[in-house]
Every structure is written in structure tokens, then in C-alpha cells.
Amino acid sequence: MARTETAGRFPVRVARFTPAILAILAVLLLAALPLGRLMATALIRENGLDFSPLIARLMRGATQRAIVNTLDTALMGALLALAIGTPFALLMALTDMPLRRLQGFLLLLPLMLAPQVTALAFMQLLGPSSALLGMFGLAPAPGTPNPLLGRGGIILLYGIQHAPIVFITLRAGLTALPRDYVEAARAAGARPWRVLLTVILPLLRPYFIAALALAFVSGVGNFGIPALLGIPANYFTLATLIYQQLASSGPSVLSQVAMLSLIIAVIALAGIAIQALGERRTSFAIARGLPARFSLGFWRWPASLAGLATIGLMLILPMVALVTTSLVPAYGVRLSLDTLTLDNYAEVLLRQASTIRAFINSFYLSGLAALILAFCAVPVALGLRHFPQRPRQALHGLLDLPYALPGIVLAIACILLFLRPLPLIGSLYNTPWIILIAYLMRFVALAVRPVDAALGQIPPQLTEAAAAAGAGGLRRLLTIILPLSAPAAAAGAILVFMSAFNELTVSALLWSSRNETLGVILFSLDEAGLSAQASAIAAITIAVVVLLLLVLDRLAKRLPAGVLPWR
């Protein structure tokens, strides 16, 4: 097989400059702009550029500890996510394991739970007031600290929370597998294990690295999990250190916060650079898609049951704990027939007008963000491929940064950027559109990464042949590039929607009267100590999202193959 493509010369000559310009524009607007504004706040003083406060900041013990903790938890969490997500992706895409679709479906749910909800659910599950453990007499005695507090718990929950990212990314890679390689190996008599180890896994490498990088970056920027599990044990990551810094609210607070954000940005860039190391070689094939499934034989059901048990432990049990809490009048009350109440649901749904409004707001803001990014992802990723390897990776890295920064920092950047009226559109502040723009900035990486991985595997021969046959640029885009990258674009859109739907930290500063989001409501209930009501909202959210996914599932026949990650 000829490897004609060296990175940087994408053979499609279709509108060669338009995508490149679009890509640069996207990077500038969505990433460079907010980051530049933050750098200005961090480093520019009255007397010009000044690095000394940043260096002083770095010398502090608390900052250094937080840097180590951030690297540690994000990396270990990403590896754990890989360990959880990979077997699921392989079993579901490549084998005849029963109940594949159900498992794929359920595996997406952790991503739709706000991180602080996941953390709360697990704490409820394992703490002294655990109704479930209590039933078996296993609940820790009152006064026992929660076993999840601290480093181990944070890593565990990062692994669970980000396993769907790994699953979706790998699944997208498996649907674009060069089928001819696999089938050739099998025809030559290679055993399934051998095919997996020598053909499939090496071919999946760019996807593995993309998944690991996304999970790592997600961990670096995560706030909800270290906030609930780390702060009580005095275990700070950069994201929670920033939050604590904000509390001091003196005149210098913004520049202090911006400095810590720059440190986060550097860490995220390091993670992204490591990704670049692995991405050197990609290979091409003519026939793509899932090869014939491997038969697991005797192991069909054991594999399926093991998968279901894992999902049960990491998803169903905490959800049960969450629902249990939503059914008692106050957190800490034991659930029984006497204490069972729907009052929390009545309160949030019927008495508080803001909940329904927040559902609608979150739904259309995250839906719009997902749609816009899905449509932009292909041209932007295509445009980025016009650049030589190194600048291209740098641009990708820039696009990833807003996702790695804690949401509250991105929100501050947005306020600084959009508060003053802009020509033609006026001030976006106090409108829902500033939240939409912040979502586009924050989640663009989730949309572009999978598409880029897919584009990297489209054989240049395909487009070259089409060009030789006289197909114009637009035609090649529509008939070759788009169909082959559509599953990845759709996977990206689903990731964006689900991440934005429960997002809290960005909208916490950007919402205004009547533009509240679900995360804002949830956080405000938590902060007021109303855990039972917060659990009710979380339970409703899960129900709504499951319903949505079921509707999508019904529509699956009309969507391109491989678009829904669980089918």
C-alpha cells in the first residue's frame, strides 16, 4: 500500500484556501481570542508586560502542590478511562456479544451527568447514610469519613466520567477501520487475538491517542469532582485552587486567577504535545467500516454479563442512590414507606418556574452549539489539514485549550471580551448568546478531534481517483469526504450536546435573568444545602436525556451508519 500522504499536503484541491481561512478564523475566534485576553489580564500591568507576579505565583507551595495534583489525577484518570472504555469499544464494535446496544447506550450516560452530580451520587452510595449499603448492614458507622475523599476517589471518578469519551472516540475509529487489512489477516488464517493485537490495535493508535488526550484534558479542566472530593480533604487541583482564589475577591483577584489559568493552559498544551508525538503515521485503505464480527463462542454471555456488571457498578448503583435521595424529604433521612415523598419533584417542577425554563435554555443552547459545531467541524478540520504537521498540531492544541481551562476562567474571558458593545451586534452580555459563544469556544475540541481522526484515514487515492475522473472539488467534498467523516462529526455533536447540557462552570458567571441553565439551578440548590431537591433535578435530567437518546435511536434508520455510537 502506497503511503503517498505526508502530513501537510492533503490531496484535495477543493476550494483549497476557503477551508484553510475558515480554520484559521475558527482558531482565532474560538481559542486565541479568549486566551489572549486572559494573558493580557495576567501579565500586563500599568508599566507594561510583567512576568514577576507569575513567577512569584509559581514559587508558592500551594501552586506547586496543585500543579502536581492536577497532573497526577488527570493522567491516572485518563488511563483508567482508557482501561474502562477500550474493552467496551472493542467488544461492541468487533464481537457478537449479546446486549451490545444496551451496553453502548448505558455507557454514554456518565458523560451526561454533571461531574458534581456523579460525585454526589457516589458519595451518597458509599457514605454512612447510604440507603443501599444500609440495607445489607454494610453502611459505615456515622462519623466515618467518606472513602472517596482525596486522590483515589478523584482518579476513580475521572475514569468513570471520561470513559464514554474514550468509548465514543474509539468506536468512531473502529467504524472507519480499513476492513481489507482485517479481512486479509483473517483470510490468511490469523487467530482473532492475533488480528486484534497486530492489526486492529495498531490501526487504532491515532484514536487511542486522541481519546487519551481528550480524557486528560477533561481531567485538567474538571471542577465538579475535585470540588466535592478534593476540597474536603484539602487536596487541591488548579481548578479548585482558582475557585478558592476567587473567594478572596480583592482588586487583584482577576489577574491572580488569570495567572493560574495560564499554568493550566501550559499543562494542557503539554498533554496535547504528547498526543502529537504519537500521531506521526497514519495508514490508508480502500474499503472501510466494520469487518465481519468475531465470534466469542462460549464467552458471549460471560463477556456480556461482565460488561453489564461493570456498568451496574459505575452507573446504575450511583443513580439508584441519587433517586433514593430525591425521594426523601431531606438529605440524611432513611427511605421508607413513611418517609417516601414526591415533594422534591413537586417543588422543583411545579413551584419553581426557573427549573422548566432552565431545561429549555440548556436544551436549545447545547443543541445549537452541537449543531453549529457539527457543521463546522468538517471544514475546519479539513482546513487545518492544509497546514504542515507542526503548525497544524499547534493550531489543534490551541483549539483544545478552552476545553482544558476551568469553565469559570473561560467565562471571565468572555465577560472581558463581550461586555462592551461590539459594532453591529451590540453587547452580548446579559443575553443567552454569550453562553452559546462560550459553549462554542469550550467544546469545539470535542467536535473537531473525532473528525480530524476520520479525515486522517481517508485514502488520498480515493479523492485522487475521483479528481482524475473529473469530479469537481465540491463534488468530491459532498460524495467522498462528507460521507466518510459524517459518523465522526455526529459522534462529536453528541459529545458536545451531552457535555453542554449539564455544564455548570461556564454559565455560572454568564447567565442573566431568565437565561439560567440547568447547571446553575443545580449548583444553587447544592449551595443552599438542598441536596434532596438537587438530586430530584439530576434524576429528571437523566430521564430527559435517556428519552432523547431513545428518540434518536428510533430515528437511527434515517441516519448514516455509525452515527449513533451504541448501534
Binding site: G127, P128, S129, I231, L246, V333, L509
Partner: protein, 324 residues
């Protein structure tokens, strides 16, 4: 019941609204969602011509929002209604608050409000002790938290992440005979300082900790719903934050802002606070259910200006003791 009361208040205030004003009012508050909505609704019922646009968030977030707007050169808020006076002192020192010395302060004890009229106390949110009903030792004094029975069982909000918690810390160290040694004793008894009041409530009602330092209204409210917690006003007395209201120097609607301050301080505004479960700052307005008589609540003294001046020292001191 509460909604009936609110409705009644609204009706009453509508009938007495003499000078109807127009325009809008932008309120930044750290009140809980429901309370913020009720406060805005009650004010709008009294002044139907004024539209209140309110944003609520925790004090750190709302201040970050305000600071960002300030840095971008267009602060939006007219009125701030936030948890603690130290933040207000800081804003006052920076010249960001508008003095309103003409405010009507009948019914308020001397010394409760800022003497220049830069900010006004609206309620008393005291900090006392909460315990889980599974606990064997029932605390009555702050000193009980340093006893062996409370070893590793005490949770409290961190003064490093909450201004209100800092006020509590300063009040206790100023008033308890052993001063900062009290906090050293807490630290060596394994007390945990982190997060906000909501997290303390969750930890204690969930049984992860048996004792906590916490604001009064949360455990009183949850205990009424059946949660396994009880609130104690310790014998030495309690600290209090006063949820001050202030008009910003940069207010676009200063007249409406003054009306809002008047409303919050009025008897009706104070009854609203009581109906929401808080101790009203104005004397003569009855306390909500679940509280002892006003005369039984002993407030410890607190010097806001000194606390602001020593803020960094206090933070450093606390960090040293708790190794944070």
C-alpha cells in the same frame, strides 16, 4: 403557608405604594434562588413600574462577575445584596459604594449599619453548631468541639474560601478567652475546614461528620423536614453575618436602588426575611419558627474595619494552623 404569607405581604405592599416609580433595577445577590425571586417579586409588587433584573450566585462568583464587569469598564449592577460586611468594607474602601445616609433606620439597634450609610444590615445569619442526632455528645459550647468525643468529627466552612466563614473565625478568636489557640485545638482535634455551608450540612446530615459549624437557617429548615440534625446556639454566643445591602457608585438607576434599600429595611421587607426563615435585623419583627426568643440569642462582637485591615494576616494564620 409561606407562599400565603408572601402573597399577603405583596397585597399589603401594593396597597401602600404611594409614589410609583419607573424603570428598572439590577440586583446582584447571593441569596438562594427562591429567596431572591421572592424578594424581587415583593419589591415589584410594591413598585409595579419598576422591573427588577436579578442575578444570584455564591458571593465569590457574584463578586467575580462584578469585578470582571468593572475591569471591562461597564459594571451592570445597581444594588448588591451579599453575605458579608468584609466584602462591603473592601468595596467601600475602594470607593465603589454610594453612601445613602438618608435611609430610614428606625427600629434598628445602634451600630448595626455602616455609619456613613454605605451599606445596611438586612438580617442576622448566625453561625452556631449543628450535630447529627446519632451523636452521643450533645454540644452546648464551642469548647465541646475540642473534646475527645468530637475527634475527627467536626466540619466547618473554610475562611479561605468564604468571607462569611472568615467573619465567624475572627469573631470567635476575638471573643473566646484562648483566642487563636481555640483553632489550634480544633486543628489538633482533627477538625476539617473546607467548602461552604451547604457542604457542611450535607456532611453532617449524611453522617460523614457528627458536628459542624454552620449558619442557623439551613439545619433549622432541614430539621423541620425530618433530617437527622439539630442546631445549637452555643452558650458563649454566636457570630453573625448581616447580609448587607449597598448601592453601587456606578449604579445606572440610583433612585430605584434607594427605593429598594428602603423596602428591604422597611417592616414589610423584614417580615419577608422572617417568612423566608431568617432572623430579621429590625427589632420588633417576630423570629421565624424553630428559633429561640430574640433575647436568648447572644451576639458576639465583631469589628469589620479591623477584620478588613487584618484580613491577610488572619488568612495566613488560619493557613498555618490548618496546614492549607
Amino acid at each position: 403557608m409561606r407562599s400565603l404569607l408572601v402573597a399577603g405581604l405583596m397585597l399589603a405592599t401594593t396597597l401602600t405604594s404611594a409614589m410609583a416609580q419607573e424603570g428598572k433595577l439590577v440586583l446582584y445577590t447571593s441569596q438562594p434562588q427562591t429567596d431572591a425571586q421572592q424578594t424581587a417579586d415583593a419589591f415589584m409588587a410594591k413598585y409595579p413600574g419598576i422591573t427588577v433584573e436579578w442575578v444570584r450566585d455564591g458571593t465569590p462568583q457574584i463578586m467575580a462577575k462584578f469585578r470582571s464587569e468593572l475591569e471591562a469598564g461597564a459594571p451592570q449592577a445597581d444594588v448588591l445584596l451579599i453575605a458579608d460586611v468584609v466584602t462591603m468594607e473592601g468595596l467601600k474602601a475602594e470607593g465603589l459604594l454610594l453612601n445613602y445616609p438618608e435611609a430610614d433606620l428606625t427600629g434598628y439597634p445602634e451600630g448595626l449599619h455602616d455609619e456613613d450609610g454605605a451599606y445596611f444590615s438586612t438580617k442576622l445569619i448566625t453561625t452556631g453548631i449543628v450535630y447529627n442526632t446519632a451523636a452521643t455528645m450533645i454540644p452546648t459550647s464551642w469548647e465541646d468541639l475540642t473534646k475527645p468525643e468530637a475527634k475527627d468529627q467536626v466540619a466547618m466552612p473554610s475562611p479561605l474560601s468564604s468571607g462569611a466563614a472568615m467573619i465567624h473565625t475572627v469573631t470567635l478568636t476575638d471573643n473566646l478567652p484562648e483566642g487563636w489557640d481555640y483553632y489550634s485545638a480544633l486543628a489538633s482535634n482533627g477538625a476539617q475546614a473546607s467548602g461552604g455551608n451547604g457542604a457542611i450540612l450535607t456532611a453532617v446530615s449524611g453522617g460523614e461528620k457528627l458536628y459542624g459549624m454552620i449558619v442557623d437557617y439551613m439545619p433549622i429548615r432541614e430539621a423541620a423536614k425530618g433530617a437527622p440534625v439539630k442546631f445549637v446556639f452555643p452558650t458563649e454566643g454566636v457570630s453573625a453575618v448581616t447580609e448587607p445591602v449597598a448601592i453601587l457608585q456606578s449604579a445606572q438607576n440610583p433612585d430605584n436602588a434607594k427605593l429598594f434599600v428602603d423596602f428591604i429595611l422597611s417592616e414589610d421587607g423584614q417580615k419577608l426575611a422572617a417568612s423566608q426563615g431568617y432572623i430579621p435585623a429590625r427589632e420588633g419583627v417576630a423570629l421565624p419558627e424553630g428559633y429561640p426568643d430574640r433575647s436568648e440569642i447572644h451576639l458576639l462582637s465583631y469589628d469589620a474595619a479591623a477584620a478588613l485591615a487584618n484580613d491577610q494576616d488572619n488568612k495566613d494564620r488560619f493557613s498555618d494552623i490548618f496546614g492549607q
